[in-house]
């Protein structure tokens, strides 16, 4: 099984991840890749308290996640790997050639970002990074929940907000 979904979501662990994706796919472990969270016991406790007992959560900074990716991928249980930023996923994918697809699950408004979809806002630099990922052979789609349509990157960047 290993990692079923590589997701960029600035809320990190939340309802869509734990319940929306977690229950139908019987997700048994989460890998939260975030340098800040990985270095803070308080942050790690916060996210541990948010996941159900049957779901393991692991924390890693980007360097550790690159080093340990083969372990995540070989895990017999289904899992989800989450980053909060496009740049973090970009760094991860640059160090792990085995990642073939990236899911944009929720990137919300902040200064410098423009709306692409209802739940996807991107800066020009983030757009560029996603195009670099796709040019490297990684399929990039936006899909907040399993029942929604997976929107291809070209459509995300080229279309009207919707």
């Amino acid at each position: 099984m290993g990692i079923l979904l590589y997701r960029i979501d600035d809320r990190l662990i939340h309802g869509q991840v734990v319940v929306g994706w977690g229950q139908p796919h019987d997700i048994r472990f989460l890998v939260l890749v975030d340098d800040l969270v990985a270095s803070s016991d308080w942050e790690k406790d916060l996210y541990r308290m948010a996941v159900p007992p049957e779901m393991e959560i692991r924390f890693a900074d980007v360097k550790t996640a690159i080093r340990d990716h083969a372990t995540y991928a070989a895990d017999p249980r289904p899992g989800i790997l989450i980053t909060g930023e496009v740049s973090v996923m970009h760094r991860l994918v640059s160090g792990v050639k085995a990642i073939g697809s990236v899911n944009l699950g929720g990137i919300h408004h902040r200064a410098g970002r423009k709306e692409k979809l209802r739940y996807i806002f991107l800066t020009p630099e983030e757009e560029r990074e996603l195009l670099v990922l796709e040019a490297a052979g990684v399929e990039v789609t936006a899909q907040d929940v399993p029942g929604a349509r997976a929107v291809p990157l070209a459509e995300i960047l080229g279309g009207e907000p919707g």
């Binding site: 809320r11 662990i13 309802g15 734990v18 319940v19 916060l46 996941v51 919300h108 408004h109 209802r118």
Partner: protein
């Protein structure tokens, strides 16, 4: 939610996904006429920092209780961050209608006490009925 009325009555923030909070408050209003005790917020379309900031701005008015829906939800995580540096704040996750009804009807001497009692009532209201 207007300020300055019925200060002896407990007030709280209800925050969750979609229209969850507004729906619960409307049910409380229908049953008791006290749905206006709640500040109803939705996390829809909000970044984590925005949820946290919105909670802080409402709590600045003196509210000391937050009800959220999912323990794993972004609203609950934001409320936990707020609670970290706000002593006395009471957070109840997994809220349901029975919880809020008990809260508004409570004769407890503090909102926190009312929230703790309401949480027990809400937990007890989950009953499985099945016929074998």
């Amino acid at each position: 939610m207007s300020e300055g009325e019925a200060p002896e009555k407990a007030r709280a923030i209800v925050v969750g996904h979609g229209e969850f909070s507004a729906g619960l408050a409307s049910a409380v209003q229908q049953i008791t006429g006290m749905g206006d005790r709640f500040i109803c917020l939705s996390n829809t379309g909000m970044a984590p920092g925005d949820i946290e900031q919105t909670l802080r701005s409402h709590l600045a008015g003196g509210t000391s209780v937050i009800f959220t829906d999912l323990p794993a939800g972004s609203a609950t995580l934001a409320a936990r961050r707020v609670a970290r540096d706000m002593p006395g704040l009471v957070l109840v996750s997994g809220v349901n209608l029975a919880t809020l009804l008990d809260f508004v009807c409570s004769s407890a001497t503090s909102p926190g006490e009312a929230a703790r009692g309401a949480a027990e009532r809400g937990r007890a209201s989950l009953v499985v009925v099945e016929r074998h």
